[in-house]
Amino acid sequence: MLKYTLIPLLPFISFLINILFGRNYIKDKAHWIAVPAVAGSFILAVSAFFDVLGGHDVNVNIYSWIVSGDFNVSVGFLIDQLSAIMLIVVTSISTLIFIYSIGYMHGDPGYYRFFAYLSLFVFSMLMLVMGNNFLVMYFGWEAVGLCSYFLIGFWFHKKSASDAGKKAFIVNRFGDFGFGLGVILIYLTFGSLEFMQVFDKAGSIAGQTINILGNDVNLITLICLLLFCGAVGKSAQLPLHVWLPDAMEGPTPVSALIHAATMVTAGVFMVARCNPLFSMSPVAMNTVAITGGLTAIFAATIALVQNDIKRVIAYSTVSQLGYMFLALGVGAYSAGIFHLYTHAYFKALLFLGSGSVIHALHHAGHHDEQNMQKMGGLKKYMPITYKVFILATLSITGIPFFSGFFSKDEILWRAYQGGDLGKFLWLLAALAALLTAFYSWRLIFLTFHGTFRGSHEHEHHIHESPPVITVPLMFLAFGAVFAGYVGIPPIFLEHGDRIGEFLAPVLGHPAGHGTHAEEIFVILVSIAVAVLGWMVAYNMYIKNTGLPQKLQDRFAPVHKLLFNKYYIDELYSKTLVQPMLKASDKIILGFDTYIIEGIVNGVPNLIGAFGRKFREVQTGMLSNYALVMAIGAVCIVGIWVFLK
């Protein structure tokens, strides 16, 4: 038991030590506490994974958290196949990113603070994953949001950074609003918040409805949709995706760990965890699938034209998260988790690779260090970074025999099997895959190929990042290439889908029916779009470099729309934020100052006028007070006695 408790506790201890003693004592040695702590968690997580593999699930309550009347919730852990995989993903990537940060954050005045927050994040994420009930999950859910807020706004003197942190937290609260209500509704329905008890009883409420404002709403659908609100916020799906691109204000290791590999996938994890509930509600499932499919294509279109290297990857993350929800929504839960797992490696690698580029340019004195239009030709200066970038890109675009191919293909194949809606979503996803290939290669070509578009002065100072940065990149590259081999489609290898079989006790077997020919067709389409996107990008950014500008001029309105992210931020600002601020300033405050104050001041003024008559005989406030009170009391008692 101690072993499992230590998994989250080690990073928490690292947080406490660093936040309390970092500023004055530990300073630039913060990693000596943080890295061993998270590495320790990783080792314990691997051990826990083998426990589960050996058939030892854990579901245990540690202590009773909140007891009030018939409401009773404990803090407890559930370690089964699903959380075991999440534990491995979270702790392994955290360990690599912690090491990477030693180099990346070197010399930052907030070095100790960075490791403190990062440790707190790992603790929170582990609580989210390991919790055995909805409230512990909610605890982790909010706590990772808090860490995200801290880390996005890490350079808090920058207004843009503190704005972005605040935005992330508040947008997430919109989702949590639904999630929290969902949790309450679950307790009122099932009398428990423990996953196992709730899921066991789920069947008993099939078909029940709940009356809301005179409408009968299916109870299970309502619960699922409320929970899904939380997932939409945390995993940056439409329409709450707006915080994630802005979150790139944070240091790059944060983008890699929190905003690509782990935290943003919490929504996917949550829906997968609740699969017994979601599976009972076709409406909720379709909502999840459609939200995912639309987000996948929507975010991919924006990524086509962005120039900030991190923003391209951020939109790519939103898009890939869409794929995961698409998978969940068509009932292919294990495919969703499989993609979560492979995505964690290749996306963390993309972010850390871009961090390596930014780091190198920054140290070369380049000021526009995230703008790809000001890069180019970096491959000869940064060969390691370039190579790992290529591997990550091959993986994300779904080139056969790289991780991303296996997981993405499984999602596409499951979607294809899902009836008419499934076919439509498959089309969307395939189109998104085409766009993914295009923008991913565009990023490579703009950054690493061609000639450097900054100044010569800067070009001289660019050099490869130190080993503390490149070694974690190589480890992640290994994951980006080989992580997918745990899920080889059975069509290629009997029992190749090891991860699907491993997860089956929790997530079940997807009920698919399709012929081998169809499956081959889907795979060929995937490969075709991946290669097509690559070729188009090659043509536009290597061979025919004048073409992008021509296209941009030709389709200026489209480009503008995409470049400005469909103006959704502006829309929210105009329709939500500004009106609310204006209302509070003009209407509410005015109401408070003039109407309410006017009425209540009117009464005292009357009393005051009345009191002026008595002023001559009164000596001071207190006796005046007593007198008014006594007279009032006598009058009212008199009236009451009289009426009686």
């Binding site: 500023r23 202590y63 009773s64 958290w65 909140i66 007891v67 009030s68 009347g69 018939d70 409401f71 909610y138 909010e142 706590a143 808090l146 807020y149 706004g153 808090f156 003197h157 920058k158 207004k159 503190s162 704005d163 605040k166 937290f169 508040i170 609260r173 949590d176 609003f177 929290g180 209500l181 309450i184 509704l185 307790y187 009122l188 809301i212 404002l213 609310m580 601020l581 209302a583 509070s584 300033d585 509410i588 405050l589 408070d592 309410i596 104050e597 209540v600 009464v603 005292p604 009393i607 406030m621 207190l622 007070y625 008014v628 009170m629 009032g632 009391a633 009212i636 008692v637 009451w640």
Partner: protein, 518 residues
């Protein structure tokens, strides 16, 4: 059936708790040196904490009965007794009051420079009166403490307050006066209706005899007093002025204890004595509470004054409290009581911190701040914790209270529960925006380390003042049962008392009566 347990300790612990500060105040009359006054007051408030502490240790959590009871005839011809005792609802407030009083003395150490002796006498008398309110089981005694509490508060704001202190004082005074008068009327009526008794427990057990008509009007009379105190929308406008003008210690007591008196009144009087009327007014009060939550939060967005913003946020937070109480179920009521405690801790600590930073900057205008996280990092870190406790982040006390209230409210009325939950979005909005403007972004050059008024971080006295409250933020956040356990039996009893009366065709009678009125 006796609902009391006579004092189980060998000495009159409650009387000592209540009157020790009075002794201190008397002693202060003979001390003239300001330093000695401060140390004496500190000694008395600390001693009072330790005198009261055995209450927590020896409290029997398994019963709803009044404990540590002392009952001595006082004015026998009117049936008035000196009657004190505490149950699971009041004990935590006694505890909170004794802690906050110590902190108020500490935080005033430097900021109160004139009329030091008078100030500390006022603080001690105020403490005694507040403790008396929570301990009284006789209406007469209660009313004396209730009124006695106002005078020192009124002086603290009026004498040691800010520039507009007179306006704020008079406003505070008039609001409370109207409420108090109506409550006095209510008490007198109850005295006759209950057969010439002012025994609060006896009256609570008599509710079945009070016809709905009587309950209806009595409820409104008490409501006037309590709603102003809470304060509930729309009688809240005295609070921002009083808070803004009060000296730090005054704001802390006001936020920490005084405004809890209203909610306490609902629990101690309205609900057990007037259960039918309580149930009748449940809906409207829940609606008013939700309005307070949303309205209070929206007004916060328009505030330009640091302290005033926190004052308005109290309106929103107290909206949660009344929402929980009037959900009339276990989770709502326990959440409401816990949230009262939480609000005392969080907002009390916030006012302490605002007072501390004001001593350095002499401004409360939000726009004058900026970048303080870099200038005073420890201060910024602690305020961050309060910010997130205030927005109800799990692992802080704010979450436990808010969640239980939301649970109770949702159980009682789903739509109101949903509206109340919007408060978690708005709360995060105004608090994080405030935090950003004070602590992030570019620093105000006036306060830079090299500027002409460099601000310094917390010193030891200030840290000692704040730390106890932060311990409770996390204690309640991680293990609220320590505190919830005290309430269970009493709250359960309260809920039962109200359920018992739902019989005997009251609904018809109520409907008939309402038709008569309108």
């Amino acid at each position: 059936m006796e609902d009391i347990i006579y004092n189980q300790l060998g000495y009159s612990i409650l009387s000592w708790t209540v009157f020790l500060p009075v002794l201190g105040a008397l002693l202060l009359l003979f001390i003239s040196n300001a330093g000695a006054v401060r140390w004496t007051t500190l000694a008395f408030t600390v001693a009072n904490f330790f005198v009261a502490f055995p209450l927590l240790q020896h409290f029997d959590k398994t019963t709803h009965k009044m404990q540590f009871v002392e009952k001595v005839p006082w004015i026998p011809s009117w049936g008035i007794n000196y009657f004190v005792g505490i149950d699971g609802i009041s004990i935590l407030f006694i505890f909170l009051t004794t802690i906050l009083s110590v902190l108020c003395v500490l935080v005033s150490w430097k900021s109160i420079a004139s009329k030091v002796k008078e100030f500390h006498i006022a603080i001690l008398i105020l403490e005694a009166a507040m403790l008396g309110v929570f301990a009284s089981l006789d209406f007469f005694l209660f009313y004396i403490f209730w009124e006695a509490m106002l005078i020192p508060m009124f002086l603290i704001i009026g004498v040691w307050g800010g520039q507009n202190r007179l306006y704020a004082t008079i406003k505070f005074f008039l609001y409370t006066l109207v409420g108090s008068v109506l409550m006095l009327v209510g008490i007198v009526v109850l005295y006759f209706a209950g057969g010439n008794t002012l025994d609060i427990l006896a009256l609570s057990n008599m509710h079945a005899q009070f016809p709905f008509q009587l309950q209806f009007w009595l409820f409104l009379a008490f409501f006037a007093a309590f709603a102003v105190k809470v304060p509930m929308f729309p009688v809240h406008t005295w609070l921002p002025d009083a808070h803004t003008e009060a000296p730090t210690a005054g704001s802390v007591i006001l936020a920490g204890v005084l405004i809890k008196m209203g909610a306490y009144g609902f629990l101690r009087f309205s609900m057990p004595m007037l259960p039918d009327a309580t149930k009748f007014f449940m809906g409207p009060i829940m609606v008013l509470s939700v309005i307070a939550i949303i309205y209070g939060a929206l007004v916060c967005f328009a505030q330009k004054d640091f302290k005033r913003l926190i004052a308005y946020s109290s309106v929103s937070h107290m909206g949660y409290v009344t929402l929980g109480l009037f959900a009339l179920n276990t989770q709502g009521v326990e959440g409401g009581i816990l949230q009262m405690l939480n609000h005392g801790i969080i907002t009390g600590a916030m006012f302490l911190m605002i007072g501390i930073i004001y001593e350095r900057t002499h401004t409360r205008v939000i726009a004058d701040y900026g970048g303080f996280a870099g200038l005073v990092p420890w201060f910024a870190g602690l305020f961050m914790i309060l910010t997130f406790a205030s927005v109800g982040l799990p692992a802080t006390n704010g979450f436990i209270g808010e969640f239980l209230i939301m649970f109770g409210a949702f159980k009682a009325n789903k739509i109101l529960g949903v509206f109340a939950a919007t408060g978690i979005i708005l709360g995060a909005g105004y608090m994080l925006w405030l935090y950003q403007r004070i602590f992030f972004q570019d620093a105000n050059p006036d306060y830079e380390a090299s500027g002409h008024h460099p601000v310094r971080d917390l010193d030891l006295r200030e840290v000692l003042t704040l730390v106890p409250l932060f311990v409770f933020v996390f204690w309640i956040g991680f293990y609220p049962n320590t505190f919830l356990e005290y309430m269970h039996a009493s709250v359960e009893h309260l809920i039962q008392q109200m359920e018992l009366t739902a019989v005997a065709g009251n609904e018809n009678m109520i409907a008939k009566y309402i038709m008569e009125i309108f």
